[in-house]
Structures are given as C-alpha cells and as structure tokens.
Amino acid sequence: MTNHWVDIKNADCVLIMGANPADNHPVSFKWISQAKKKGAKVISVDPRFTRTSSQAHIYAPLRAGTDIAFLGGMINYILSNELFFKPYVAAYTNAGYILGADYAFHDGLFSGFDPDKRRYDKASWDFARDAKGVPQQDLSLADPSCVLQHLKRHYLRYTLEGVSRVTGTPPEALTQVYETFASTGARDKAGTIMYAMGWTQHTVGVQNIRAMSIIQLLLGNMGVPGGGINALRGESNVQGSTDHCLLFDIWPGYLPAPTADLATLGQYEAAKIPANANPRSANWWQYGPKYMTSLLKAMFGDAAVLDNDFGYGWMPKLDKGRTYAWLDIFDRMHRGEIKGLFAWGQNPACSGANSNKTRQALAKLDWLVTVNLFDNETTSFWKGPDLDPATVGTEVFYLPAAASVEKEGSITNSGRWMQWRYRAAAPPGEAKPDGEIMVELWKHLRRRYAAPGAKAPEAITRLRWSWEGRGGFDAHQVAKLINGYFEKDVTVNGKKFKRGDPVPSFAFLQADGSTSSGNWLYSQSYNADGNQAARRSTKDPTGLGMYPAWAWCWPVNRRVLYNRAGVDPSGAPWSPGKSAIAWQGGKWQGDVPDGGWPPLEHDGGMLPFLMLPNGVASIFGPRRADGPFPEHYEPMESPAPVNAFSSRRHNPLAISYHTQADALADGGTRFPLVGTTYRVSVHWQTGVLTRWQPWLLECQPQLFVEMSRELAKIRGIANGDMCRVSSARGKVEAVAVVTSRLRPLMVQGQTVHQVGLPYCFGWVHPKNGGDAANLLTPAVADPNTGIPETKTFMVQVERVRAA
C-alpha cells in the first residue's frame, strides 16, 4: 500500500477490483464504511457478486482476466472527456516527455519485439533527450510525440462497445463506473483502489496494476490521503517477508540481487545506480551503494572490509538473464535438478499453481524439511492420493513450530506498519519458535563448516552471529541489526557516534564500511530511541488517521508515500485538508515528507517521485518487460474466439513450462467454462491453520464450486450436488453452490459461463473435505514477476451424484 488501512476513510471514491475485502480483509471494511458515511461512493468490479459487492453503490461484473480492457476503457474515457487533473499530470508525471521517433505500437506489439527470443529490445522506448541527457518535455501536453498524446492514441481503441464485447460488462455499467471514479480527478477529490490477487495472478498481472497506476496519476490521486495504489496483502507479514527479500531476485531493502557478470562490488554499483541528469530529481537509488555495503556489514561484521569487497565475492550470484522463481523451482525439481527443499511455514502442495506437478516434483526430492504447526499436504505428500509411499524415496522431516502468540518479534502489515508482538505462552510439547529452530540449525551447520577442508566455507563461518542473546534466538538483537549500527567511531552529518551506537536512520548509512544495516528501509525502527515498532500512542494530530506514534512504518515513519505529490509546486495542498503535508513557514507540517527538500518551485526544490530516476511518475513505463503501456491480451486459457484488440492472442512474453504435467487447453470445447479461485472468510490461504479449528471448519467444511443458475440448468446440477471440476491438468470433487451471484456474460456474441472455487482445502484434513483447487490451475506466469495465472483458467463441470 502506498497509503494505509485507516486512510481509506479519507477517500471520496473506493474502487475495489481484483479483491473482496469484506470476506478476506474483513476489518478493513470498517474504514470503507467510514468513507461511505462521509459520502464516498464504493464500486465493486468482480466476476462474482461478492459480500463486498453487496456493500457497494455500483457493481459491475466482468470476465476473469479482462481487467486491462476494463481499465483501458477508463483511460480512454478520462482522456476523451478531458477529466484528468492537468496541473498534477504536467508537473509530476512523464506525460509531457517526448518519445523518440522510433517508438511504435502495432497490432498488439510494441516496437523492438524479437520473436525468436520472445523479448523486447527497448532502445526505441527511450525518451528524446537534450545534450545533457535530460528528457525533453512539452508541459502543455500538446506535442503529438509526447507521452500523453501517445497514451490517448493507444487507448482510443478501447471504446465502450469494444471493451464490453471483451469483458462482458454491460456498456451502461462501464459508463457508471468510469464516470464515478473519474470524478475524483477534481482538485478536491481523492479516489483509492483496493486490489489483491484478483489483479496479480495473471500473465498480465503487472500490467493490470500499471493500468490502474496510470489512472491514479491522471486523476492526481497518488500521494494524497484517500488515494494511492493499495495492494491488500494476504498474509500477516508478507509485506515484511518481501521487504526482507526471501525472494531470488532482490536482497533486503529491494537491492537487486547481483548477477554473475558483476564480479566486484564496484561493478555492481556502477551497473545498478540509475543514470539521472535532471538536477530536480533526487534519484534516491543513487544511495544504493551505502545500503549494499551496510547490508554486507550486517551479514559479515568485522570480517567484511574494503580489501575483501565487504564479502561481496562470498555471496551467491545469479546467471544474468536466468530466473529462479517459484515456478522455475518446481519445474526444475520436476526434472530432477533440485534435490533438497525447505518448506518453512508454507504448503506448496496446495498453494502453488498446478498442484499435481508440484506434488510429483516433491516426490523427486532426496530430502524435504517442513516447518509448521499442523499436518499439511506438503509435510505428508508422500502418503497423498494416488501415491504409494514405497515408491517415494524422499527423506522427510517435520519440525514443530510455535504459533505467533508463543514467540516475540515484529510483523509488517499491508500499510507498511511494523508492529511488535509479545510472547503470551510457551509453545506446546516440543514446538519451538522459528527463530530458535534457525539458530539451532545454524549451530550444526557452522560446526560442520568450521572443520578443516570444508568446501567454500567463507560466507557460512563468517556470518555475523550476535543474535543468541538471552540463551537463544533474540528478536531484539536481530531487529537492532536490521536497524543498523555504527561499526566505527565516526562523525556523520556533524554528529559524533561511537562504534556500537545504533544508526538513527538510513540517512546516516555509509558505503565505506563504517555502518551496518540489515535492511536500510527499516533503519530508524530500533534506534537510540528504542523499539519504535512497540509504540502505542493513539494520538492523531492531523485527524487523517495517520497515528504517527503508533508502531512505526517504513520508510522513516512516512504514512503516505509520495506525499510531496499531494501539494502543488509551491508546497500548498492541491486542496485544503486533502494533503498529508503542507509547506508552512519554511517547514513541512504533517506527515514525514517524502524527502525533506523544499517544494519544487523553491531553491533546492525536488520532484516528488524520488525513487524513480527522473523524479516524475511513469505514465509511460519503459522498465516493464512486456510493454510501456498496458495492452489487453487473453489469458493463456481463454473462452474468447479471438483477442478483439489485436491478432496477438496472449501476452507475447508470458512464461510457460513444458513438462508432461503442463498441459494447456486454450479455447476449445473440452473445458468450456472460465474457472477462478478465491478465499472464504473463515479459512486462511490453503487452510493449514484454519481447517484444524473446529469453530472455523464448522462454518466452511468442504470444497464447493459456485455456478450460475443458468449453467446449473444446462448441466442438470442442483444446489448441493457433488460435482467433478476438471481442467487439462487435474480434477477435484466439489459441492455445487448454485447462485445468482454468478451470471453468464456475453463475450463477442457468445455466452460465457464462469465458475469459482475456494482454494483453502486439501486432502489431509478434513477427510472428505475435498482437495486443492490449485490442482486445476496452470503453471504459466507474468513475465515481469513470474506470478502464476491462477485467477483465470478453463474447466469443465459435471454432476457426479445427487446431494
């Protein structure tokens, strides 16, 4: 989230699309309701009429996987009707930047496409630049070569009728949504978007979010209270686990993981610092070297020195151009290339796309270590359905972990609030807090690698080991290291610090080895003022719900990201009371400003989008793999006869895999129904934690498939009948829920039926509760992120037996 949960109350319009917060983030609805009470309009766009839809002023159905068509139509509507907030767009986005003469878009492809490599050469996506390298711009936004005019031409094709034929949304519903949300382009209005996996889990997932980002920029909704781009993250600490980068391609604080061609820290830094010639752009990533060196110092302590490149050479490197993402892991495991796996607080046998492939892959491992609270389909995969344990050669471990209330530490919510929690009881039996398991395991490993002749032991034996504290894992010690220390007696920014003093914030981090910080984004969270995440002040000085002294939020306790865009270039709020900050008496008031420089018009003033090289937000986004503007492509499995917008049926860069388990069924009659998956209120993710709780299981005891009355009639299915749902990859049995919440849609003159299943069940427990909905989903993915397309796929539904 660029903003945060309480901030939703400040919105004048709440668009909820690709998410169902009433079921999946129920308490967030407190703040949606608060906005409604103050007159805000709530819009729900979803293939299914959900509990969220029931609380919305406007509901619009759409075919799963057609969000770019829907949003492209909104971009066209905003531009055609001149509803964008022009002063904001001109000052704070790249809408006025002039594109080079070679940029083109034709029939679904952007210029530079290489059909053999299936990738773009992006040379033609660059801006026209002056002699110094600063992009040329036309602030009147009238130049036919400027981004805004290109944008206008790109989306002219997305007419109401054209969009409706693709999405199945009635044109009048489209107009109602477009008109209502576009009204937040007014100077004194703010509109927010709440989205979740309904937008991300597609082969065009990143471009779904890009399309909405363009809308939010056009309407001037970024950086203001009640606005922003708000991903409703689904796990209590998925924000923190992402920030700390348990991901192949980034290191803590979103530092790009080094590739093998960058042999030294110097080469890494030279390659990763974004070029910028604009003196008004802060280009914050120029400080990357300070954060990288401080991370290496956090990892290796005194062993990391200038002469050994701070240990950079001991760390693993990726091959340039190769990905090591989730679906890659299971593909290579399926091919026998991966021998050992830790599944720590995870249930991949149900959670990943194409569960049959995942489960087959697990059986090819030499060993598997699982850490969890309850039995689950990954831990017990070797005795799963249709599997003879005698044929499975995997050595399997189950390590019992503590529940959240049985250990101490912090988690970071979707609004970036880092909140501390305390141990209320000891874990039962032999269960241990995960941190203790790590510390204990590391003792065994470190001893082995301290032995003479151990293979490449540098990084293992030199890993800083100061977190045992009070006789075991100590979250406070790790949290302090993440915050960072001075590693030498130094004077920084005019202040004297001693070795061992905590770093006040990331502004003090250095590239010379004099500081450490496990994650620069969290620097300030546990400094000389103590554990900021444990703060509990309920004071709200601005009345905007920012609660600046409740817990702590990254970065540097800034509650609304890009808040400098919420004021005009003179520093005055675009509209009084509608800004997180304001320049008054030569100082910023309110939230922590996104950079302390004076407003743009003043001496030393800076542009608001400080993490981007040019300081302005990207309406034209040349850094994406699959195009600088979002373009509609059909899902990899789609019922549409053709892509109505071009002759490119699918995202030309979509990732797919080619084992026998990777069958796809695009179009055709064998699997004629659009399938999608979702969650229910009383279960969480694959249900590992909730299926074992009788209170919750009683509410939702087994897998169901939701379908329209019209489809049920065609298939001869009655409410409660047991059905078989199958795809090209697998099948499940599910109880029919026949409902008017789903309705057939007209797509290109044909009737399209959609069905939905929750993905919270699995064969281990309860017995006869059904198996994972992900047995049906395909392992195909977005080219930018590698996220699987689990929200749209094709299925067949048949009645098996009566209720």
Binding site: N237, L246, F248, P252, I338, W344, R448, L689, W692
Partner: protein
C-alpha cells in the same frame, strides 16, 4: 447490555446448543470475567491477513496457558473488533491437533518416526552439507564467480516475523542458495 451479561448470555447459549446439535464451537464459552481479570495480558497482532489488527491475549498466571484472545480496543485499525478467524484465534494456539513432535520419515517408509531435535537438526545439516557440497559451483559455465548451489531450494515464509525472515535469508544466502522464494511470488 454490559459485557458481563453478554458473556453470561453466551454461556446460556452454549448450554442450549450443547443440548441440541453438539458442536465444539458451542461447547467452549469464553472464560469467566474473574479469570480474565486475573490473567496476564499481552498485546499481539493477528497472524492471518495483513490488516494487522491488534489482539489482547490473556494468559492464566498459574498454568501459563492462553485462556482467551480478543481484539485490542486501543488499536487504531481494528479498535477491538475482529473477523471470524481472528475471533477464533485461541483455537489455533490451543488445539489438540497441533503436531508438537519432531517427525522423520525414512525414504520409502509408510510412517513417521519421532526423533529428538538434536538428531533431526544434525541429520538435516548433514543432508544440506552433502547436497550443497556435491553441487557447489564456484564459477558458472562462463567462468564467472557464482559461489552457489542450484540443487537446493528454500520456500518461506510470510507467516514468520521480520527478524526471522531476515535471519533466514542471511542463512540461506550464506549457504549459497539462489532458489529462495516464498508466498509473495504466488
């Protein structure tokens, strides 16, 4: 209705429910107010979705057991309210189905065997070392220094605390893993 009579009402409902169609939900009324008043209170944050609702956890001082979990009324996001999952969180922690032993399954075996922590961690360390060392690449096929293993992968977890996440990535990267992923990717 004040809190005390509300809880009393719940208790009555539980008895009525038990007489009818029995379910564990109805058979477990919240503990009496006097027990809650005497309990040790700690604050926590809900472990389910990422709204980050505040919790009050009540621990019986004598037994050290959690007896009740409810919404934290001071928390600015949830102000004491919780969803169905959060309201039932007590049952995640206090649950006879928790698997609380270290378990090991031999290749081709059809059953678990209980093991000690020390045995299991030593065996895991041995397997990690074998797999890593047999597959360790100091350089890739182009002769570039890579210091990695591609025969081992780590998944997890968004359910862990920040401090645990940081430590895990440090450990796994020190071992040379590049296949490090978790829920955020899917």
């Amino acid at each position: 209705m004040d809190r005390r009579s509300f809880i009393k009402l719940l208790g009555t409902a539980a008895v009525g429910g038990a007489a009818g169609k029995a379910s564990q939900a109805q058979a477990s009324p919240p503990p009496p107010m006097k027990d809650l008043a005497a309990a040790r209170k700690t604050t926590s944050i809900c472990p389910y979705c990422a709204v980050g609702c505040g919790l009050l956890v009540y621990t019986d001082r004598a037994s050290g057991k959690i007896i009740h979990i409810e919404g934290d009324p001071e928390h600015p996001i949830n102000r004491g309210t919780l969803c169905a999952k959060g309201s039932g969180l007590y049952q995640m922690a206090v649950n006879p189905a928790r698997m609380t032993k270290v378990l090991h399954r031999e290749p081709h075996s059809d059953k678990w065997e209980e093991k000690s922590w020390d045995w299991a961690l030593e065996r895991i360390a041995e397997l990690v070392q074998q797999t890593r060392d047999n597959s360790f690449e100091a350089t890739n096929t182009q002769g570039q220094r890579v210091m990695r293993t591609t025969a081992m992968a780590h998944l997890g977890s968004a359910a862990l605390d920040n401090e645990e996440c940081w430590l895990l990535q440090a450990m796994m990267r020190s071992l040379g893993l590049v296949y490090i992923e978790h829920q955020a990717r899917i």
